[in-house]
């Protein structure tokens, strides 16, 4: 009994020791901005004049706002398509490049390359690639006899163009999976091989459980990031054409800096936080059954 108590105190003590840099940083740099934005969300704040408390008015307003609902649909569609596909691509690339294969270092660098390029340059390149007249994308489609759409200039396809773009950044996810795959003991695979297990079975029963924490990480971060997708809409489409890429955070940004409504914008931010938190909690809960943790001091 007392041994357990001492152990739990010891664990608590060391945990706080190790995480204290972050707690200090949180208190010093994050707490004030976070609480401020929470406070702003209950005010009418035009940035120029001091905020004025208006209770829940910002929160109730958004439910009657067309652009809010538009931004919710656009963002959800973006998230539910791009996150799973990107995960699968990243895992696929990682598995391909985990093998011993000629030119492996080159392939890895090449796959990661699009993630290295900065935003402005990349968006210009995408403009060319998606150009309906001379773009590469429609040129490739034409090999298969498909007349490509106007992509970024067409309200029906602009969102999908942005989703397709994210596939080029699957390299980031690939790196993470590659790092995860390094902890798969080669001896285990060999043993399984000797037992005559097929590749797919080895993957399902050995590899997948071991990389599951990385998978969970990518799923949650993918969700958090794609709910906040902003830059592409900001730089390339300005939310258009015809609001087809009017993402949630784009809406939030315009509310603050084009409409001078920092209060409403903060309320949008907090609604987003709650929703993403819910999604994360659900995933975490479900993952307990599937994600495999080797250690973690569970004693």
């Amino acid at each position: 009994m007392s041994v357990n108590l001492r152990e739990s105190r010891r664990q608590t003590f060391y945990m706080y020791m190790f995480i204290s840099p972050w707690i200090i940083g949180f208190l010093a740099f994050a707490l004030y901005p976070i609480l401020s934005s929470l406070y702003f969300s209950f005010t009418d704040y035009d940035i120029i004049h001091p905020p004025r408390f208006i209770g829940l008015a910002n929160y109730t307003e958004m439910f009657h706002n067309d652009l809010f609902w538009k931004s919710v649909t656009v963002t959800l569609r973006y998230t539910f398509i791009s996150v799973p596909v990107q995960l699968l691509l990243a895992l696929g690339f990682a598995l391909l490049l985990h093998q011993t294969i000629p030119l492996r270092g080159f392939f890895r660098t090449a796959m990661y390359f699009p993630s290295m390029v900065s935003g402005v340059a990349m968006s210009l390149l995408w403009y060319w690639i998606f150009n309906p007249q001379i773009g590469l994308f429609n040129y490739i489609l034409s090999w298969f006899g498909i007349q490509g759409p106007a992509w970024l200039m067409n309200p029906d396809t602009a969102l999908y163009a942005l989703i397709i773009m994210t596939f080029w950044t699957a390299g980031s996810g690939m790196i993470l999976f590659l790092a995860g795959l390094q902890s798969v003991p080669a001896s285990l695979i060999e043993a399984a091989n000797l037992d005559g297990a097929g590749r797919f079975r080895i993957f399902l029963n050995i590899t997948l459980p071991i990389i599951s924490p990385v998978l969970l990480f990518q799923l949650i971060m993918g969700l958090i990031d794609s709910f906040q997708v902003f830059t592409q809409a900001f730089v390339m489409t300005q939310g258009g054409p015809n609001y087809s890429t009017w993402f949630y955070v784009y809406n939030l940004y315009t509310s603050a800096f084009k409409e001078y409504r920092a209060g409403y914008s903060s309320a949008l931010a907090w609604v987003l936080l709650v929703v993403v938190m819910l999604f994360t909690a659900i995933i975490m809960k479900l993952s307990k059954r599937y994600v495999h943790y080797e250690g973690g001091g569970h004693k």
Partner: protein, 292 residues
């Protein structure tokens, strides 16, 4: 209990397979095709960076430059304070990577290895800091740093990294939790202090993860535009993305896209270098053997 040891294994040695497998041939072909797609942007970048301003305006655009303007690579230094910006970016990104690695590895270890009271609470708080979009905290954060007198210094861009980045903490936590408890129990029996175990057991076994964090932290800082735009006001402190944004900022001039591409190509050099070094970690990753 089995004997535990960490060894560096070479995959090429542990899997000697002289014969050509059909799976590998298929993999290789898939890789060639995807690599081609992945490298297209690079091709466009380099090709555009070598075009003349006049050729840039052509429609349909040329595939390869008509005349190769190597002088563009000199012109960028006349157009922007390119050298200064490059140095500033290197300093900021370098410090950020160092700070992020050190602090995130410590904090992640705390979250991963100890089931202390409040672990869940702090971890959820950590995650939630990533869920508020940056535009929502931009103004109060500026107010804070401005009260600290940090405006027009590198401090707002560098110091927070020394207190851990939520993303990288979460990432490393996931890796540290996969390390078997037995390793640490053994360490404890040997009388290792907690920080020593962190340094001598957890860190060496997490080479690939740490390399990943280094790459991510570098790219994040290297390509960051919004924070330096907000916090820096003296031109001689500007970073590379700020300079690149200035090339396309005039609404009344035709932007020098060719120079932007020159800057982008040059901006990739440190990232590619870092990546080339770091990805070796993935080849010679340290693999645990002999567990159970």
């Amino acid at each position: 209990m089995s004997i535990l040891k960490a060894t560096s294994s070479r995959p090429s040695v542990s899997r000697p397979r002289p014969k050509v497998e059909p799976v590998k041939v298929f993999s290789f072909i898939t890789l060639v095709v995807t690599t081609f797609l992945m490298l297209l942007p690079l091709f466009f970048m380099v090709s555009t960076s070598l075009k003349s301003k006049r050729e840039m305006l052509k429609f349909p655009p040329t595939f390869l430059p008509e005349s190769w303007q190597w002088s563009n690579y000199k012109d960028i230094f006349d157009t922007l304070q390119f050298g200064t910006m490059y140095m500033n970016s290197l300093i900021i990104a370098g410090l950020s990577v160092f700070g992020t690695l050190l602090s995130s590895a410590l904090v992640a270890y705390g979250f991963a290895r100890y089931r202390g009271k409040g672990n869940q609470f702090w971890f959820i708080l950590l995650l939630s800091t990533m869920m508020l979009p940056y535009p929502a905290i931009m103004i109060p954060q500026f107010v804070l740093f401005s009260k600290m007198n940090w405006i027009d210094t590198f401090l707002p861009l560098v110091v927070p990294a020394f207190f851990g980045s939520a993303y990288n903490i979460f990432l490393l936590r996931q890796f540290f939790t996969t390390l078997p408890d037995e390793l640490f129990d053994a360490g404890r029996i040997d009388g290792c202090g907690e920080l020593r175990m962190w340094r001598t057991i957890a860190l060496p076994l997490s080479g690939p993860a740490l390399a990943t964090v280094a790459i991510f932290a570098f790219i994040y800082s290297w390509n960051d535009l919004l924070t330096p735009v907000l916090y820096l006001s003296s031109s001689e402190k500007f970073t590379l993305p700020v300079g690149m944004a200035s090339l396309t900022s005039s609404r009344f001039r035709i932007p020098p896209w060719h120079l932007l591409m020159v800057a982008s190509v040059l901006a990739m050099v440190p990232i590619v270098t870092l990546f080339a070094v770091a990805q070796k970690q993935f080849v010679e990753g340290i693999v645990l053997t002999g567990i159970k």
